[in-house]
Every structure is written in C-alpha cells, then in structure tokens.
C-alpha cells in the first residue's frame, strides 16, 4: 500500500503544551521568525505524524508567512511527510556501505516480516505501509554509521548491524 498526500483531515487541534514548545523554539531565532519553519514543522510532524495542509497554514500564520513559503519547504525536504506513516516508521539506509553490508536484503526481510508491499514506491511516494497500518518503511540515504551496516531507524531509535528483521520488529509490537 502506497500512501498519497491526504488533505482530508480534521481541523488542527494544537494542545497547549505543543504550542508552548513551539513558541519557545521560535525564540531561538531572534533575527528572523522565518528561520523557525523547520523546527515548527518538526514539532507538528512529531505530534501528528505528518504535515497536513492545515499544519502548513497554521505554521504560516504562526510565522507571518505566506503558506507557499511553508509548503515549498515541506515538499523539498525528504524528512517531511504529507501523509501519515505507520505507527512505527522504519528507515533503512540504502547507501553504498550499508548496501555492501546487506541493506537491500534487510529491506526485503523487513517488508516480508511486516507484510509491506513496496512494489509501487517511487521518487515522489517513497513510503510503503503495511496492510494493518502499523508499520511503514522507506529507504534513507547514508545515516552516518557506515561502519556498522546495515543500519536503520525505527521512529527515533537507531539500530546497527541489523541482521534479524523479525527480532527488530518484535521490539515494536504494540
């Protein structure tokens, strides 16, 4: 299953703690509020799982920008998603040293273990999601741990020398 941009989301509800965190982050940029685009988007993506159209508009309003100035950032950086990934989002390093250490096999076995079909991924839609929506996966470029490949990330956790796909997924069950 390949996820496409999904704009049919409910109006954004920003918890006050999240807004406080965002307001504090904005103070890190005393010269230009626009500099806070990435940190605001990170905070929103961390909370909602992806950047919705509403999140773009909310960010623009927060930082006194035209929404396009935010959207152009969202669409450029591979780190921002416009659709919800699985509960556990896996990024497998694709680049040379990890590929030499078996990252393509790791990708296959993770897909098999998590029941993910990657046959439809392409440059614009790099993420594939499991049928149950629990796991999603994509290739990432060099994660700066080339000596311990194959490496991957599951959400914010980093894993090195990953050999057993099932054992890795076992840590992310619930």
């Amino acid at each position: 299953m390949i996820l496409k941009a999904n704009f049919s989301v409910m109006a954004l509800e920003i918890p006050s703690t999240l807004e406080q965190e965002i307001d504090e982050r904005i103070t890190h940029y005393p010269v230009s509020k626009r500099s806070a685009v990435l940190p605001v988007l990170h905070a929103l993506q961390h909370h909602f799982g992806y950047i919705s159209e509403e999140a773009v508009e909310w960010t623009a309003k927060k930082l006194d920008l035209l929404p396009i100035k935010v959207l152009e950032v969202v669409t450029f950086y591979p780190g921002f998603r416009q659709y919800a990934p699985g509960k556990y989002h896996i990024r497998v390093c694709r680049t040379l040293s990890c590929a030499m250490a078996g990252s393509f096999d790791l990708m296959d076995s993770l897909c098999q273990a998590a029941k993910i079909d990657r046959s439809g991924v392409n440059h614009h839609h790099p993420i594939a999601v499991s049928e149950d929506g629990k796991y999603s996966i994509e290739f990432a470029e060099c994660l700066a741990s080339c000596g311990t490949g194959p490496v991957c990330m599951v959400n914010d956790d980093f894993h090195e020398k990953v050999e057993d796909a099932a054992a890795l997924l076992g840590q992310y069950r619930d």
């Binding site: 010269v31 950086y77 990024r91 694709r94 040379l96 393509f104 440059h123």
Partner: protein
C-alpha cells in the same frame, strides 16, 4: 592515557592518537557536565576568555588545522576573512549535518562528548566575535539533538554560555537547529538558506562567501563539528605545539572512518599523514575478508575520486618525482590530492574484488540523483542521467557507447554549477570510468559473462519499467 579505560572490545588501536575521541567508548564516561568538568572541562574556554580574541585566532592559524568537513580549508585563515570594517553581527554555525556517505565521526562526538564541541564553539565564537551560534544537526540524529540541548542548558547554568560569561562581559547563545533529511544542507550556503527557513538552495560564490555574507547576509563562520573540537585542544596545547602533531601542512589528528570490505570497519583517530592507506586497511582494520583482493578505495567520502587497487601514483616529494603505491599513500590532505583524489571528510570506503563496479557506481549515482537540489541544469539533469545509465548497466540492458555517454555527462557537470555538489556528483563517475573502463564497458554487453545478474539487477529493472 594510561588512566583511561575503554569499553571492552572498543579499545583504540595502538596506532591511534586519541585527542578528539579521547572520551569516545570510554568506560565510566557520560555526557553530563559534571563528568566533563572533572577532567578539566571548560578550562580552555576560561583561558581563551583571558586572551585577546585576535590572539585566539592567531593560535588557531599557527596550529594550521584544516577543516575536517570536506574541503580542508585552514580554519584560522577562514576566521580572518570576516571583513575588518564589519559593523554587522557575526554568527558561527557548527556544521553537524554529517551526510557525506562513508563518514561517521561527528556522530560520536555529538552523542558521547557534547561538551567538548560546545567548549570548542564557545572559544571560536569568542575569537570571531559571535554572540549567536547554531548547531545545524541532521534530522536523523534526534537523540544527538537532545543530548546537545541538554548539554547547552547545563553549560548555560554553569555560566559557560549566556550573558556575561565568567564575568568577562562576553555573551553567547548557542541553539540546536535540526535539518530535515537533505544532503545538500551540508553545503555551507545551502545550510544557511535552510537555517533561514527556506529550501536549501546553495548560494553562488562570489559574492556569498559566508565569512563575508552568510546567515541573514552577515559575516558567518561555518565549521565542521570535528574542526571546532580541535580549537579547544589548540588552546590547551598552544598553536605551535599542536602543529607538531601530524605532518607539515597537514597538522593535528583526524578521525578516519573505514567501512566496506574490511574485517573490522570502524573509526580511528590518527595523526594526519602518520598512517598509510595500507596500514589503515591491513593493520588497523584487520585486512580484507579471507581470500579477497583489494579492488578499489574511495578515500575521503563518496565524492572523493576512487583509487584502484594496485595503482601507482607519480607524485612530487621535495624536488623529485617518486612512485607511490596505493598502500603507501600517507593519509593526509596533500598526498591524496597529489594522487588525484582528496582526503575529504575522512570516510574511507574499501571495495574488494567481489563487487561489481557498475553496481557500486550505480549506488552512488542514485544517491546524487536523489540529493541534487535541482537549481543547476547540468547537476539536476546530469545526476539523473548518470543514475539511469548505470541503472541500465546493472540491469544488463546497457547499450554500446553507454560508458562514453556516462563519461561525457559527468564532464559536463563539474565546474558548471553553483555549488561543489556538481563536483561531488560527477567525480565518482569520472574516476570510476577512468579506472575501471573495461569492466564497465563489459557490462554494456549483456551477452558477456561479465554482465552482472543479481537482485540489484532485478530491482533496477523494476525501476526502469516505471
């Protein structure tokens, strides 16, 4: 360093000279400021604050430390490029984007010794007159960003950051800024655009040399994580003493990261130029895998031009021209440059004779095609062409003349683009074609026994079909 114990199995190699990585994998070490202070932490900042800022820069110049981020530019000299009559604020940015394939050193400094970096940054900020600094860290180091933020808060609490540091009247705030998964954010002007909240489109130089016109068009010093850590040790040792480490014009230590086809990949901090490629691979990394031969080495991150196993280089030594074999190359800036490649970011990727060159090159080309920012036509289109041609090669669907086309595409990129990504993406192709032409040409003929058929092939074929 007899008093330092390292975690079992993580002991430094006997040939290492641990300075920046002194506390990496160290038993009983943690990232707290209490631990750091116990070992004389922030003493160098205190010492620097008693000096004239210009004198600090002078020590860094004398030390001769060259940038560890890729270009190898002398750090002290860069700092003097801030216009002398400048009236604008000055900023300092630590480049913690660590995204050059094959490079994995800044990761360990950030995760295991954050205060060393903060102390180095604070000294550098004092020297160049920056009151606001950012650490631009790649998004894929979420834990690292947290560790740095905690360390900054601790340093602030202890009066090493913030207002009126140690009663000297020097103010400094450091903030952590997270990227979002784009390699081009490592390029310093792309990084600056990104820090301004925009797409990381690199700026053209001239006029946008960061030291003159950087962040918010103010003078900005951008240095790599490892480079900034060296500053602390330069103040500790004095520039002249520091310059005795390493070799002339290639001073200090540096961290080499080895990955690929060796028995024991890893990181090694050595005096620059005091270890040869052969010693690094065969001794420090435990050699190649059983029965394998060295086919190629990429010596300084994926953008560095590949060297062929068994290659002999003619280089100048003093007034004479001498032959140097691949294994005898000292791992320094100047010799690797003389051999037609570069020391770059210190990422050494070793490739043995089990690997197909088409496959290796295709993997790298896919990286660059994905990461081009798209501003310059030669880079945007060329990087994709190079990927597509090598896609065909690994899929066994190459055509006669493909290798010439590949080479000509590469040669139409470098020197014709806004930023050095143009060189970064075309050099691998240029060098692989120059050194492995026969093998690549053989792969254009699917009928030959040399054509590769493996699962990469099938994967690439699936991509072609799209």
């Amino acid at each position: 360093m007899a008093d330092i114990n390292y975690l079992p199995g993580k002991e430094p190699h006997a040939r290492e000279h641990r300075m920046i990585f002194r506390n990496v994998d160290r038993a009983g070490w943690d990232t707290s400021i209490a631990t750091y202070l116990k070992e004389g932490g922030y003493e160098q900042l205190k010492a620097a604050l008693k000096m004239e800022p210009k004198a600090v820069t002078e020590e860094v110049k004398k030390a001769g430390v060259r940038g560890r981020g890729g270009a190898g530019f002398p750090a002290g000299l860069k700092w003097t490029f801030i216009p002398p009559n400048n009236t604008k604020p000055v900023y300092l940015i630590c480049n913690a984007d660590e995204s050059e394939p094959g490079t994995f050193k800044d990761r360990y400094i950030i995760h295991q010794d954050p205060h060393q970096l903060i102390e180095g940054m604070a000294i550098a900020c004092f020297a160049v007159g920056a009151k606001l600094a950012y650490i631009y860290i790649r998004e894929e180091f979420p834990e690292g960003a947290k560790i740095l933020e905690k360390a900054i808060a601790e340093a602030r609490e202890k009066g090493f950051l913030g207002k009126n540091i140690q009663g000297t009247g020097f103010d400094l705030e450091i903030y952590v800024h997270r990227g979002a998964g784009a390699y081009i954010c490592g390029e310093e002007t792309g990084l600056i655009e990104s820090l301004e909240g925009k797409r990381p489109y690199p700026r053209i130089k001239p006029p946008y040399f960061p030291a003159a016109m950087g962040l918010y068009l103010c003078p900005t010093i951008v240095n790599n994580v490892e480079t900034l850590c060296h500053v602390k040790h330069i103040i500790q040792m004095g520039g002249d003493e520091y310059a005795k480490l390493g070799t002339p014009n290639n001073t200090g230590t540096r961290i080499l990261c080895v990955s690929g086809d060796v028995q024991k990949p890893g990181y090694f901090e050595v005096q620059v130029g005091k270890v040869t490629m052969g010693e690094l691979i065969h001794d420090m990394c435990g050699g190649l895998k059983p029965g394998r031969k060295l086919k190629a080495v990429i010596p300084g991150g994926s953008s560095a031009k590949v060297l062929r196993g068994g290659e002999v280089f003619k280089i100048k030594r003093g007034d004479a021209m001498v032959d140097v074999s691949l294994e005898d190359i000292p791992m320094d800036f100047d010799t690797l440059a003389a051999c037609g490649s570069m020391a770059g970011s210190g990422g050494v990727i070793v490739i043995d004779d089990s690997r197909s060159i088409s496959w290796v090159l295709n993997n790298l080309n896919a990286f660059y095609a994905h990461e081009s920012c798209g501003q310059c036509t030669p880079c945007r289109e060329g990087s994709l062409w190079m990927k597509k041609i090598t896609d065909r090669l690994v899929a066994g669907q190459g055509a006669p003349g493909d290798i010439d086309t590949l080479d000509s595409v590469a040669r139409q990129i470098d020197g014709r683009t806004i930023c050095a990504f143009g060189e970064a993406c075309s050099w691998p192709t240029e060098a692989f074609v120059a050194k492995f032409r026969d093998e690549l040409v053989a792969d254009t003929n699917p009928g030959t026994a040399d054509a590769i058929v493996n699962r990469e092939t099938l994967l690439a074929a699936a991509n072609l079909a799209q």
